[in-house]
Symmetry: C2
Subunit: 463 residues, 2 copies
């Protein structure tokens, strides 16, 4: 049977066999081997191909995994479906600890028997198995990467604290690409496909206990073991933030999910209740999944619900006030008299001392700095949203640098809203890579702060 603790041997293997390794650059087994070499993986690497002799990509090739003669932590299996069960038998005889079956052609196309046969082989030899029909895993720390996708199509993620588990390979790689474009880093990516043996319960169990994982994000289609899922969800949600995007919410979507990964999507209302009880943050879309991951990855827990808004565009301040006020849980902060006095001294006369604080279109680095300084000491302010519209005359790289500088010092959750095309995007990348989460809409920013605060409330109730 599967042991979720063995997932560690998949993510931090000292030795990897790539079964189905090939000299043909179009073959999955070639891409995977090449990716391992390119990533700088420093464990032992063994190409296996029963039809190839000599070397593949400069590495000695074996006809069978049983010929290697030393401990294999992970076998990555990329041979046609009909050969996979016998390859798994060989892995068992070679005492391979874990296997990732990337090959498709099992239950997802109706070959349930072949899949059952595969699981039986793995179980017989106590091999912990991911897949079949999956992309496998990526761990930027150990440089393990079983993804058989052209690397130029994916933005490369930095090392970080967000782990992402996804049933679907394509949605998984899309989100992984988006994570690469964000400032926060990746801890683990796990695409588990048909979940024939290791499933969402095992993976959630593993990530919950993994110290490198600070935030878990998951893309789910079906839940196989309802009761066990509820148990692990409760523990995981109490331990770290878990953000979930569930596909198959409507009757039509459920039907579509079934034809995709043979998943039984189940009743979304029941699932939603389970998620909420576990304190999971529910994302409605891929973009929300990223918004939430971003804020939980970088921001401290807010002490309360009161939000200060600083802006260089009055209208954007109004839109953000609307979004905060209608979030259901956040409040517009009332500045203390002390803060008002400080601001009245430091701001030019045209600035109304109120929240949202409109610094006006000519505000540059200094005015932002003075405003932030005044808010940092205000006990009525729990969180800060800084709006910077880079189309205005005053906003430039120096203003962005000032926000970054301030972000490194403040103890309060602080996020930015910045919306625009090229000139703006350049500055957004600058701010994000320095750890300041940037949102491209007032709604997204307010929803994200609200999720952060709701999680604080959830944890407080648990104590």
């Amino acid at each position: 049977m599967a042991n979720f603790r063995n997932i560690k041997s998949m993510l931090k293997p000292r030795s990897v066999a790539v079964i189905g390794a090939s000299r043909d650059p179009d073959k999955v087994g070639h891409v995977i081997l090449q990716n391992y070499i390119n990533s700088g993986y420093d464990g032992r690497l063994y190409p296996v191909n029963k039809n190839a002799e000599g070397k593949i990509l400069g590495l000695k090739t074996y006809a069978s995994v049983t010929d290697i003669g030393s401990q294999i932590d992970l076998a990555v299996i990329a041979v046609p479906a009909q050969f996979v069960p016998s390859v798994m038998e060989e892995c068992g005889k070679a005492r391979v600890k874990t296997a990732i079956v990337v090959s498709g052609g099992f239950a997802e196309v109706g070959n349930k028997d072949l899949q059952d046969q595969l699981v039986a082989s793995a179980n017989k030899y106590s091999i912990t198995m991911m897949g079949p029909n999956c992309l496998g895993v990526m761990d930027p720390r150990s440089r393990v990467d079983t993804l058989f996708l052209p690397t130029y199509k994916l933005s490369k993620a930095q090392i970080g604290g967000v782990s992402f588990m996804a049933q679907s390979g394509a949605v998984g790689s899309t989100i992984l690409d988006l994570i690469g474009g964000e400032g926060f880093g990746l801890s683990k990516f796990i695409s588990y496909g048909n979940a024939a043996q290791l499933d969402e319960v095992d993976i959630l169990n593993y990530l919950m206990e993994d110290d490198e994982t600070k935030v878990i994000i998951m893309y789910l289609e079906g839940i196989k073991r309802g009761k066990e899922f509820i148990d692990v969800a409760k523990k995981a949600g109490a331990k770290k933030p878990v953000i979930v995007l569930k596909a198959g919410k409507t009757a039509a979507g459920t039907k579509a999910a079934h034809s995709h990964t043979a998943a039984l999507a189940g009743d979304f209302e029941v699932q939603e209740a389970i998620f909420r009880q576990a304190g999971f943050i529910i994302a409605q879309d891929i973009s929300e999944l990223l918004y939430y991951a971003k804020i939980f990855a970088s921001e401290p827990a807010p002490r309360g619900p009161r939000v200060a808004i600083i802006t260089n565009g009055g209208g954007a301040g109004v839109l953000t006030t609307d979004a905060v006020a209608s979030s259901g849980v956040l409040k517009i902060a009332d500045f203390t008299n002390q803060t008002k006095k400080v601001l009245a001294r430091s701001m030019p006369p045209l600035v109304n001392i109120t929240n949202p604080l409109d610094l006006a279109g000519d505000a540059g680095a200094k005015r932002y700095n003075d405003a932030l300084d005044a808010l940092e000491g205000d006990p009525n302010v729990d969180m800060i949203i800084v709006i910077m519209l880079f189309q205005t005359p005053g906003a430039d790289s120096a203003s962005a640098a000032k926000l970054i500088d301030y972000k490194s010092r403040t103890l309060k959750p602080m996020i930015a809203i910045s919306i625009g095309s090229e000139y703006t995007e350049m500055h957004n990348r600058m701010m994000e890579s320095a750890g300041l989460p940037v949102y491209d809409s007032p709604t997204a920013a307010a929803h994200s702060l609200a999720a952060l605060y709701r999680y604080v409330l959830f944890r407080d109730r648990k104590r």
Copy 2:
């Protein structure tokens, strides 16, 4: 009094006086004059500055607008607030037709009397006046551009059919920057600031009758003349799509709006009812405003609510099915038997012939083409969503080119969903600039198609 038909003289002036023109590159009056010269505006251009002699930027300079001695269609006024009323008097004596007052320092900072004095002067001489405290106008066709923003901060919009009216300057320029980054083009940008004389009623009246304007998008803070607004809104909504983003929906937002442009934001529920009755499309955020503008700018009216979904990622197909099914108005299309037969012949065996149609991760240009060909003739399909995840092995520039080619031939509304970082964004720009609207989330795509279809239903009810 203002005559909204005179707005044409602001947008298509044969002669422009820039009052407050300056040699100092930091002055607004310099930037505006320089922008006119750079844009290639081919009417007559007169710098006016009572303290400057000789030439500014190579153009003969006048001490007063009354010295010019020929017809001035538009005076752009950029002098300090206290001088604006007397400048307006001079404009009156010189029989200037229209004026845009970009200067701030009026009602928005409490100087209501100065603003009243300004309006009185304009009215006395029947000058149609925009502002004060506004960015003015931009019309890529006539090359008129009164925006005093550094051009490198704004993406330049192509010529197109979308006109955008905005009360707020900063939000206006932010959205203008986003429009520049989109594939659809701009007809007019009108930032009207304090709306002391020309207001949202006049501008909506003008854009409604303007043949170059196919779609109107508006960012509103307050509505000044409720009854007149209702009248023009009804006419405008019946004539062309009007998309509205209203700031100041909540009590806190309303308060913030008042301190911004002294606008009385009013009761949003009442306003929302007015918008709905007029058939306006209500955007909840800046991003939604753009999503809706994009679809109305390019797509024909759908004949019905039935949506076909083609994808190369099963999970994305499920998420999109959920979004379509929960849109409230759209339906998942049932393919005809004829379509199913054609697809069964042209698709590889692993493709399930169902909607959403999952072409699988190795689908390239040909499979997309065959699928689209089959759907084009299907009378059960009213609209098409094509999902292309460029992280998958099969998707590349040839696939994107195939969608563009197909888009140029289909008579049905067709949009794409494509989500990712650099490699994806490159292809998205390619598709958008060729007229295929691309969405970065299933929800945004479904909401946009739903808005398109709701507008069809609204028009049909009006008939």
